[in-house]
Subunit: 326 residues, 2 copies
């Protein structure tokens, strides 16, 4: 079993590889090698029995991707993308990385005769655009309002068609917003969803730029890794021709998030969140989906946290060594 | 007012240009020039005051499309495509013409500084894939089951995003199946919808390969031209960010089509249709949509025939000189 991860140095890529190194197998087969590709080289624990190699490069360079695919990995996780804000600010770069990069991968796979790898493709709820119903069902249309969402939606269409034609065995995953992101506070418009939990848990202040009534669709980094692994292991036949799935998540308001923080870490910690309304961010967030009914993905066995307390606990266990800092 | 038509030699392109030559104006402005581009050169009446030029070429050749766009036509009708059956049989050619061709056009427009033409893009109900609800509403998702439908859906996404970013002013039109197509019987799986009307009206036999209970979504060639012209004239502001519209049509069964034929042309004419079930065609047609509720397009002023008798009458007027052959 050989695995290729594109976007290996990103938050999900890194955590996915760490999990694969721990698990040692996928689809019931021993993992022999993982090739970790990203724009920068990741650093992974190479002390185990899995041969892990890293490479820095550009997904938009066709020859680079052709060579990666020529090694015929059994499973490809395609997580490489520039994020929504950057794709919106730099139109050309967004299309080059997020669209050309994906097309390079899929076309390289077609170029390999008799090769139909499982491809797990990271899509996003950004393929949907406002106005929304109160709950978005699996049959709601794709009308993205960002270039990032457009690029992800095009990748979904290509993945479904190439899979239908037998050129690959793809599954597209529409990730919820991933919370709590570890690391430094992030300037992305969605950054505050993580900041208001992560920073207070470390005794630091955090700014809430929107009303407490704002509801959004979230899952933990741990769930994101679970999604990737479950998608790699799923029987393709059971999925059918609709290969792109809205994943399960938790619909919760910012106010409820802060309540959960208080219930776990106390009122002093929760009080570290300061409400400073920001019209720009409020405007952006108003166009984001609030709640999905992810029936198909749930039927196919995907699952996520049911309470925000679980999401906070996952963060404490995975990032803070299982204990609240004193 | 300068107009560029890509796919000018096809059935809709030809009829559109003929109508524009008769009308002489569009959006309240006098038409000065029409450039008619297709893989073969069309033949048009050049005796009027409109300067009509023709050119044969390949939409997949970037330099060719760059030159067409450099002339900065005010309105571009992008009707160029290879049809569903051919795109399915020749995967590479389908993507080359239907996807690369569309991307060449849109990217050429971006390349022209300060140029935001109205682009009328011919999409298709093939962007939808079974299973369907009894009536498909505007918010139903895009899960095409053909490469053609995939290519059209990708064009829709690009059109919406490029328009949102101010690079062009696009409208995508999801055409119903166009019936009655003039000309020779057609081997396309959908050909029988036209054959069973056109051939009997000329005293010839026609084969019905599916059950009379089969329902489908149709409009006349005349309506197809109306759609293009209305789309060119619409105020872009009123459309909003969802730039791709399912067009109005008529949901009717094959049995009702033949009844309408009988009511107009008599029972002897209707009896020229022979039922010869064809399992292959029945299988293909079973995956096609039957009925839409095209609310948004109707609110924006698009309209089509309300009865199949009107569709037959349009054919008699436009193709048979207004009279049934004796």
């Amino acid at each position: 079993m050989k695995i290729l991860v594109l976007g290996a140095a990103g938050m999900i890529g890194r955590k996915l590889i760490e999990r694969l190194l721990v698990n040692g197998s996928l689809r019931g087969e021993k993992i022999e090698a993982i090739h970790a590709f990203d724009v920068v080289e990741g650093a992974f624990d190479n002390s185990g029995s899995i041969n892990i190699t890293t490479q820095a490069g550009d997904v938009a360079e066709k020859a680079t991707i052709d060579r990666l695919v020529a090694a015929r990995p059994d499973i490809i996780f395609h997580l490489a993308a520039i994020v929504s804000g950057e794709a919106e600010a730099d139109f050309e770069k967004g299309y080059r990385i997020n669209l050309d990069g994906t097309m390079n991968l899929f076309n390289a796979i077609i170029g390999e005769e008799g090769y139909t790898p499982r491809v797990v493709y990271a899509s996003s709820i950004a393929v949907f655009g406002a106005p929304f119903p109160a709950s978005i069902e699996d049959e709601f249309h794709q009308t993205p309002l960002t270039s990032y969402g457009t690029q992800k939606a095009i990748g979904e269409l290509l993945l479904a068609d190439y899979t239908r034609k037998g050129h690959m065995d793809g599954i597209g995953l529409r990730f919820p917003t991933i919370v709590v992101r570890p690391g430094k506070p992030n300037a992305a418009a969605s950054g505050f969803f993580s900041n208001i939990i992560r920073e207070p848990l470390s005794g630091k202040g955090a700014v809430l730029p929107v009303d407490k009534s704002v509801m959004h669709w979230m899952a933990s980094p741990r769930s994101a890794v679970n999604f990737c692994i479950h998608a790699a292991e799923l029987d393709g036949e059971t999925i059918g021709p609709r290969r792109n799935l809205t994943l399960p998540g938790l619909a919760i308001t910012v106010g409820e998030m802060i309540q959960a923080l208080e219930s776990i870490a106390g009122s002093k910690t929760a009080a570290l969140v300061t409400h400073e309304p920001n019209e720009t961010i409020m405007g952006i967030v108003a166009n984001w989906p609030r709640r999905f009914i992810a029936s198909r993905a749930e039927e196919l066995g995907f699952s996520a946290e049911k309470t925000f307390e679980e999401i906070i606990q996952a963060h404490i266990e995975d990032e803070l060594g299982g204990q609240l800092p004193q």
